[in-house]
């Protein structure tokens, strides 16, 4: 018989936990949900746009009644649980319903704090928490004129903006002299206040509310100094308090909130709690993103996996007032010894401040231009060292050449503007999918719209749209990004486990790291295969079935299912008999098209899969090996003519290119990897947009790394300058090996260099000679295994099943 799970609280945290649980194990529990409100689960953070008339209640429903039915979840609405009997393990509701439980989940959220002043219980005094409050406000706006919002924080300002949009005269009363003091510093708060005043809001600062006046219904607000302000409606938005009454009555240990450990368990091991009602490591959260992290962890334990831990969240805030861009995160008030970076452009209404400690971002406040909020937030949470780019960091990620294509001001784009150029997805499609389908994560948007699911260059734009559309609910940078949906471990966790544990085969990775799926998926299997191969080149047996088809068939699959063949031409040099051999092969196998590639070699298109091995046999006989044009591997070394022919050449760039290609060919990499050698600073081989580029100068060789000429053009960083060809080879091998061992699978050198910082790489490859030599040595060991030509092996009959079809007997 199934176990019974009862959820008290039909809100975002509780339902998110159920969704996560159903994803992992839909069969484990019979589930009942109690909700005090008469509605299915809706997106509470979108109440502000509903109040402002920009959305309807239907727009913000997250789980429709059908959803509960489809998942066999019993939903009891409009009925509060009044008693938890922890001995009998059952709950009882106001209407007398009783449900037994094996596991109980409390997600009762929070209540608005009503200041205990005389008259606070009069009609027309409300909080801003649920649909009923919104209904009250909308009704008041129809019949009366004056509204007073007490509290100039996030919620108060959103309520005030909404009431004003509904035609009321609104005054915001704030106890302090600066708005949103928990999210903003004074300069940003001043900009915000000016902008809101311009829109028609009134402010009464440093005012202490003393009483609510009126007969039965509110008529005015009285302040400590005796002054009064007429009011038909008073919204108290001075904070929230975790709703712990029920838990407290039931003897579950509470302080400010219900006390939970890192597994979201309360002091009663049968009882879990998530959301605004809990207190974790002494913090009660009032924003949505942390709740989602808690939900993931709690679901993991309810599903009896027992591995996830919640370790607290760093939160960020955005104000959902249309037309006002505001973002804040972390410790934005500088402490003793902190540095601040500030950009102020008063006439454009832009203010950006970053608080820096030891070259790491500790806090951020952005006003007017919040495009880079998610980026700063990610740097903050990952503790990235910003020393390498702090001089330009305030200009945004775009300034690093990493913002993707197109206009970065995504919010100003029209609905018909194309965001994802690969899949032809417009801004309107994405925003519609996010709001209609209740999407919260990049993965969900990718699955539903295909936007950002191909080349990924629009990821930043899609993330910005998500952040804007769902507001605080968007969890921009989970503190730990899982490698894929099959695991909670990050790329770094997995790499570390494989290298240090050590783990040397894929089944053991699944077992020891508690993979949730039997065989992984198309995302993690190639990654694991690579990590195992990179860590244990001499021991791990490559798993063909975990490779993407291109690397399994050693050719690029084309849209019609045929393949392309690119023989390697070392340094781009080629001899007449080699060209003849290629021409003969094309005639023999009727290759429909040949093309000279940008990598200085020749691509043969439209080859049938079964023709590949015999074709490779002919190419092999002519001395060719695979060009790995299909792989996450070393691709080409582009060269210029060099000093043999060119009157400007300073070194033998072609010869050096050939040597580099002989050193590196065949190497599997986290992503594709390109080299180039230019014979002089004119740089005809375009070495400064390659993963590893050499620019020859009269006195030696400049080594450049981390360039990219593809999705996001990025110019290389100068690694160092060396004097001999032998040094070029050694530094190249060491850099390559460091990238091979530490980068995430499918991370090019450009984002890798930006993520770990050039100084880290310089330290290992340039400054520490011993480490350089060790890296170079390890690269050569791995090359012993890699430089067995895969084409020749298959031409001689290897992996024959891959290339032959079956006949019906």
């Amino acid at each position: 018989m199934k176990q019974k799970l009862v959820l008290i609280g039909n809100g975002m945290a509780g339902l998110r936990t159920l969704e996560e649980l159903l994803k992992i194990n839909a069969e484990l529990y019979d589930i009942s949900v109690f909700g005090s409100e008469p509605h299915p689960n809706y997106n509470r953070i979108m109440l502000s746009p509903v109040l402002a008339g920009e959305k309807t209640i239907d727009d913000i429903v997250l789980n429709s009644l059908d959803w509960y039915q489809q998942n066999n979840i019993e939903l009891i609405t409009g009925d509060s649980v009044t008693k938890i009997d922890r001995v009998k393990r059952q709950v009882q509701s106001a209407s007398g319903q009783i449900r037994p439980y094996d596991r109980l989940l409390i997600a009762t959220g929070s209540n608005p704090f009503i200041i205990p002043i005389p008259g606070a219980d009069k009609k027309g005094v409300i909080g801003f928490r649920d649909i009923a409050d919104v209904d009250t406000m909308l009704a008041a706006a129809k019949t009366s004129k004056n509204a007073v919002v007490i509290g100039g924080g996030l919620l108060g300002l959103e309520a005030a903006n909404g009431l004003m949009k509904n035609g009321m005269q609104v005054t915001v009363v704030h106890l302090l002299d600066s708005l949103m003091e928990r999210q903003l510093d004074k300069p940003a708060a001043a900009l915000l206040k000016a902008s809101l005043q311009q829109r028609g809001l009134n402010f009464l600062m440093e005012a202490q509310t003393a009483a609510i006046l009126g007969e039965d219904k509110v008529s005015a607000v009285q302040f400590a100094d005796g002054s009064e302000l007429a009011a038909d409606l008073v919204v108290m938005a001075v904070g929230i308090r975790p709703n712990i009454a029920l838990a407290q009555q039931s003897g579950i240990h509470c302080e400010r909130g219900i006390m939970v450990n890192d597994t979201m368990q309360t002091f009663d091991p049968k009882v879990y709690a998530v959301g605004e009602c809990v207190q974790h490591r002494n913090i009660c959260y009032g924003l949505v993103a942390p709740l989602f992290e808690q939900a993931r962890v709690c679901a993991n334990h309810l599903a009896q996996f027992g591995i996830a831990r919640y370790e607290g969240s760093v939160t960020s805030t955005k104000l959902k007032v249309t037309g006002i861009d505001l973002f804040s995160a972390g410790e934005f008030h500088e402490a003793e010894g902190d540095e601040t970076l500030v950009l102020q452009d008063p006439s454009q209404g832009i203010y950006k401040k970053l608080v820096i400690r030891d070259n790491k971002i500790k806090g951020a406040v952005l006003y007017g231009d919040t495009m880079d909020g998610t980026w700063y937030f990610q740097l903050l949470r990952e503790g990235t060292n910003i020393a390498d780019f702090r001089s330009t960091i305030l200009f945004g990620q775009h300034d690093l050449g990493d913002a993707g294509h197109g206009d970065s001001k995504v919010l100003s784009l029209s609905d018909s503007a194309e965001v994802c150029g690969c899949n032809g997805v417009c801004k309107g499609d994405i925003v519609k999918a996010i709001s209609e389908k209740g999407l919260f994560t990049l993965d969900e948007v990718r699955a539903h719209t295909k936007a950002s699911s191909s080349c990924g260059s629009c990821t930043g734009l899609v993330e910005a749209l998500l952040a804007h559309t769902v507001g605080d609910g968007y969890d921009a940078a989970p503190s730990k990004k899982p490698l894929c949906k099959c695991t909670d471990h990050s790329h770094d966790d997995v790499i570390h486990a494989i290298q240090k544990h050590p783990i040397k085969d894929m089944r053991s990775v699944f077992q020891q790291l508690n993979w949730k799926t039997p065989d992984g998926c198309a995302a993690c299997r190639p990654a694991l295969n690579y990590y195992l191969l990179a860590a244990w080149p001499e021991e791990y047996v490559d798993d063909a079935q975990s490779r993407f088809i291109n690397e399994r068939a050693h050719g690029n699959i084309q849209k019609d299912g045929t393949y392309s063949v690119v023989p390697r031409m070392f340094g781009g040099l080629v001899k007449p008999n080699e060209l003849r051999a290629i021409a003969d092969v094309c005639d023999k196998y009727q290759v429909p098209e040949m093309k000279v590639t940008g990598g200085q070699r020749i691509d043969l298109f439209g080859v049938k899969k079964e023709d590949l091995p015999p074709m490779w046999k002919d190419l092999s006989a002519a001395g060719f090996v695979s060009g790995h044009a299909y792989g996450k591997a070393m691709r080409t070394v582009k060269t210029c003519a060099g000093d043999t022919w060119c009157r400007f050449g300073t070194q033998n760039s072609t010869g050096l290119g050939v040597q580099l290609e002989h050193l590196t060919w065949g190497s599997w990499m986290p992503h594709k990897f390109k080299l180039a050698v230019s014979g002089c600073p004119r740089n005809c081989a375009e070495a400064t947009i390659k993963d590893f580029g050499v620019v020859c100068v009269d006195s030696g060789y400049e080594l450049h790394v981390g360039g990219n000429g593809g999705i996001k053009v990025r110019v290389t960083d100068l690694l160092c300058k060396v004097e001999t060809e032998q040094e070029v080879l050694e530094y190249c091998g060491a850099f390559t090996q460091k990238y091979r061992e530490e980068a995430h699978y499918l991370e090019r050198t450009a984002p890798w260099v930006e993520r770990v910082g050039l100084s880290t790489i310089k330290q290992a490859v340039v400054e520490d000679e011993a480490q350089r030599k060790v890296l170079y040595e390890r690269f050569k060991v791995s090359q012993k295994v890699s430089q067995i030509d895969p084409w020749k092996a298959r031409a001689e009959g290897g992996q024959a099943h891959e290339f032959t079809t079956l006949n019906i007997v």
Binding site: T517, D519, C521, F548, I557, G561, H801, T805, L806, I808
Partner: protein
Amino acid sequence: MSNWKLVTTLTDIPQLGSRVIKTATMNIAIFRNSEDRIFAMKDECPHKKGPLSQGIVHGTSVTCPLHNWRIDLASGEALGPDQGCTNTFPVKIENGQVFVQL
């Protein structure tokens, strides 16, 4: 009428891999998963006709190599938010020999 056709042996299909059967009218992909279950379906993704036989097999699904649609091996239905379906064929294993009903 029995139209079960012998196509190969279980061991000739790699685990978590596939083979392709060429027929007069279409290519049929035959898959073997990690539990040695066998599945057969038209070798054509419902999305843009990508050869599913060339995809990565995991659990009871295959991911199309062209645009990463996931197709359920048993039903031929696209999984997740994608919608579409490809034809499947009954299969059986007898004494290590694999038969497909055409």
